[in-house]
């Protein structure tokens, strides 16, 4: 049971730890923190703290641990799964003020940064050395590197350059007891279990990340993008498989369907063919010679696969223009409907036609339009469901539709989240993706780090009781899930 103390007492205890403007407790000050990038879910935190150094983070966590008060870490608040959603009984630790780049080690291609540093700021800071940080989530202007580690963020370039877990070398984290651990190293491995991998994507459930050393890559000599339009989605999907079968790993390989193409073209005039059923954007990078050869190769492949139009960016400005449509796809869709809900499943690529068809059927069934944006190279699908939150019941209907899409992804042999995390949003679908024993194993891992369940409680891994409740509404293939649990 929790040893709770009241809010005023907690404020008194936190005051000496923090600067005067770093402890928020009035409702009007707490309001901006009530949600992250998933604004459909809102809750006020008990308090917000804004530490400026690791010692303050340790002191806050120690105090909360002693009084058994939950803590929730928050980066830039751009997460799309409600991972940083506050709780009324929890202290929110914003890491936004830990925003310094501490060291750039050019020789080793490493940069050590605080968690509040923005993703893009790292690449900007090292560009002068001809280096960059590869993972590029579409929120990269705003999202923080600490949040990227917590969510194992991806981006457009994952297929070739990997996710966050492949691009970090070391982290320092504060445990729930307030101790500071260094995990990983500036070499290529470290002794013991791979805690660096375990921490990456752990959604703030195992510790609070307070420093990150990221790997940097040399900026490729050349990058070139090809746009290919298809009058059939399946053909576009087939072209993706052909490119990979021919031994080419593009730096980025993106697909958009017709509604997404139209929305993007209306918004930024990228030069997309608005009649196409699907377009592929294929970016090739590497040495000058290699890119030239691969462009010819991919051009031919696209033609062979039935592309009705192929466009190769002739210069950097045109390349940026072609990407602009893709990068602006979410806000572009935002312009054609009052609200949109972004999903994030991953599927084996060959299942794309079946999944898209099933989504189209569901779209009709629910009477809600969908635009699809797809990291085609790695099978990560982002269906955007268009809805109007002001219409009574439409948000609930949208969420149900979204849940069905995630279940389709599982059925196709994929996963409910490719890069956005489970957070609060997909917690019910975790009950479908994992068996009870597997969920229990996750809880055991959590217990190893946080025996009192104080770090971001209630997120990412559902309790078996929650699954039983969800399952009661959700009888799968005629079988009642969790028959071992009592039901009333």
């Amino acid at each position: 049971m929790q040893k709770s103390i009241d809010k005023n007492k907690l404020i008194l205890l936190l005051t000496p730890i923090l600067d005067s403007d770093a402890l928020l407790h009035e409702e009007e000050d707490l309001r901006p923190y009530e949600c992250d990038g998933l604004s459909a879910y809102r809750r006020l935190p008990l308090l917000v703290t804004l530490p400026i150094n690791i010692e303050q983070v340790q002191a806050i966590v120690r105090l909360c641990h002693e009084h058994r008060i939950p803590v929730i870490a928050r980066g830039a608040g751009t997460g799309l799964s409600g991972g940083a959603l506050p709780r009324e009984d929890a202290v929110l630790i914003s890491l936004a003020r830990l925003n310094k780049i501490l060291d750039i080690d050019r020789d080793q291609c490493l940069a050590t940064v605080q968690p509040g540093v923005r993703n893009l700021a790292i690449s900007e800071a090292v560009a002068a050395y001809g280096l960059y940080y590869a993972p590029d989530p579409s929120s990269q202007i705003a999202c923080s590197i600490g949040g990227n580690v917590a969510e194992n963020s991806g981006g457009v370039h994952c297929l070739k350059y990997g996710l966050t877990v492949h691009n970090i070398s070391q982290i320092r984290m504060v445990t729930i007891e307030g101790d500071l651990l260094t995990i990983g190293s500036h070499g290529l491995d470290s002794p013991g279990y791979d805690l660096l991998a375990l921490m990456t994507g752990s959604e703030g459930m195992l510790g609070i990340i307070v420093e990150i050393t990221v790997k940097l890559l040399p900026i490729p000599e050349r990058a070139q993008v090809i746009l290919a339009a298809f009058d059939d989605v399946e053909r576009a999907g087939h072209a993706v498989g052909r490119i990979i079968a021919d031994g080419i790993i593009p730096a980025g390989l993106e697909m958009m369907d017709n509604p997404a193409i139209r929305a993007a073209e209306d918004f930024v005039h990228a030069g997309y063919p608005v009649d196409a059923a699907a377009i592929l954007l294929c970016e090739l990078d590497g040495t000058n010679e290699e890119v030239s050869e691969q462009i010819m190769h991919v051009n031919k492949l696209m033609k062979d696969c039935g592309a009705v139009q192929i466009k190769t960016a002739s210069d950097e400005a045109q390349r940026q223009q072609l990407w602009k449509g893709r990068k602006a796809a979410f806000p572009a869709v935002g312009r054609i409907a009052p609200d949109y809900y972004c999903m994030d499943g991953t599927i084996p690529r060959k299942q794309l036609p079946w999944v898209l068809k099933s989504i189209a059927n569901l779209s009709q069934e629910y009477g809600l339009a969908v635009a699809n944006v797809f990291h085609a190279g790695d099978g990560n699908l982002h269906p955007l469901i268009l809805y109007d939150a002001n219409k009574s019941g439409e948000l609930e209907k949208t969420e149900e539709f979204g849940g069905k899409i995630l279940e389709l992804c599982i059925e196709a042999g994929g996963t409910i989240t490719g890069e956005h995390g489970v957070g609060m949003e997909k917690i019910n679908q975790m009950c479908i993706q994992f068996k009870d024993d597997e969920l229990q194993q996750f809880h055991a891992v959590k217990y190893a780090f946080d025996p009192h369940n104080l770090l971001n409680p209630g997120k990412a891994v559902p309790t078996l009781h929650r699954c039983a409740e969800f399952g009661a509404m959700h009888v799968h293939k005629g079988q009642l899930p969790h028959p071992e649990l009592e039901r009333f």
Binding site: D107, Q108, C109, G130, C158, V165, D179, L181, S185, H186, G187, L188, D189, S190, P191, G192, Y193, A197, L198, G201, S202, M205, P218, P220, E221, R242, A245, D246, G247, I248, I249, T287, E289, E290, S292, E293, T346, I347, P348, K350, G379, N380, G413, G414, T415, T417, G418, E419, G421, V422, Q433, D437, E438, Q441, A444, V445, K446, A448, F449, A460
Partner: protein
């Protein structure tokens, strides 16, 4: 080519019931890694077979006992490969042992380690439960990354049953160049090319010569060779394979063999014996009779860790001792997966 998961599960349940620890073993090509276990062997080698391979999805799933050589052959047919270039240390090396030890070859600094390519796995935990984590897709953040936690855990957290790995296309061409320089210079040159977008896929220094392997299209390699200089080595492929498998003459000495993992640009520090620099500076092989504690202290001071690959004295632990602050969390993770301490107790560390 058979599914032994039920048999293995029964063996685990039996071991648990009798509180009898077991040593998980495939074909025992990695017996030299870790402390030896005196307990009965739990043999996983017959649990083998490639379950699923989809070249255009870049994924292969195989049972743990599948021979690495079978996997390589299967990938060869589709011009694909394991990017982490694992050493086998014997013809009968299995996928399970490779993943349990997280072993990677010369391509590691440029392509990634074994752990970077593990997409999912099916395991038996210490309670005899068959559990599946991750999957067969590249991007998957549902649940904690247990698959990568298993990688390199030396079988102390569970029995690997099936493993899904990301595979990659083979480069169209590879060539090896070399240049005579001393080791200090070699580290500088490795560092210089690390910062440039060059098609380097391996870099080492054998004490006399600096070697680079370049991978890519013919024209790209030609242009890179012009920039980098050096002489072309005829039997390049053979050279890297001998290095990877420790068949290079350097390893042919009857003295303790150490693996030092260091930040790549660490200057050479004072150690007795011979050194071979691999992984662009980040992995250094040391043949030395120097005192183990001394080697470890110096390596640790330089930001690295030292493991003993070939030992003369069985009292010395293979792996670098964990920092004091890290031991409790390791013990609690062990407890979370294997509460009765059935799997490979003491293999990784005497205290785990």
């Amino acid at each position: 080519m058979s599914d032994l998961s039920q048999t293995l599960r029964e063996q685990v349940l039996d071991a648990r019931e009798h509180q009898q620890p077991v040593s998980i073993q495939g074909n025992n090509t990695k017996g030299f890694l870790g402390n030896s276990g005196a307990t009965p062997i739990l043999d996983t080698s017959a649990h083998s077979g490639i379950l699923h391979y989809e070249p255009t999805e870049l994924v292969l799933t195989a049972r743990a006992g599948t021979l690495l050589s079978d996997i390589t052959q299967c990938l060869d047919e589709h011009q694909q490969m394991l990017a982490f270039e694992p050493p086998g240390f014997g013809d009968k090396a299995t996928l399970g042992g490779t993943i349990a030890c997280n072993l990677s070859g010369p391509r590691r600094p440029y392509a990634g380690a074994a752990r970077d390519f593990v997409l999912g796995c099916c395991i038996i935990n210490g309670q005899g439960q068959v559990l599946k984590f991750g999957g067969e897709v590249m991007k998957n953040v549902a649940g904690y990354d247990v698959s990568r936690l298993m990688t390199g855990a030396m079988g102390t957290l569970g029995i690997l049953l099936d493993i899904s790995i990301k595979v990659v296309p083979k480069p169209p061409m590879e060539l090896t160049i070399r240049k005579e320089v001393d080791n200090e210079q070699a580290l500088q040159v490795m560092s210089r090319w690390r910062q440039r977008p060059m098609p380097v896929s391996a870099a080492c220094h054998d004490g006399n010569h600096l070697y680079f392997r370049l991978s890519g299209s013919e024209s790209a390699l030609k242009s890179a060779q012009n920039k980098m200089g050096g002489d072309r080595v005829d039997n390049g492929e053979d050279f890297w394979e001998r290095l990877r498998e420790h068949k290079h003459a350097f390893f042919d000495i009857n003295k303790p063999l150490w693996r030092l993992s260091l930040p790549a640009n660490t200057p050479l520090f004072n150690l007795d014996g011979k050194q071979f620099i691999d992984w662009g500076g980040a992995q250094r092989w040391l043949v030395s009779s120097m005192d183990a504690d001394k080697i470890r202290a110096l390596t640790y001071k330089a930001g690295g860790h030292a493991s003993l690959y070939r030992r003369m004295d069985s009292e010395v632990e293979t792996f670098h001792p964990l920092p004091e602050a890290m031991l409790p969390i390791h013990q609690r993770i062990k407890q979370a997966f294997d509460p009765d301490n059935i799997f490979n107790p003491g293999r990784m560390y005497k205290t785990i």
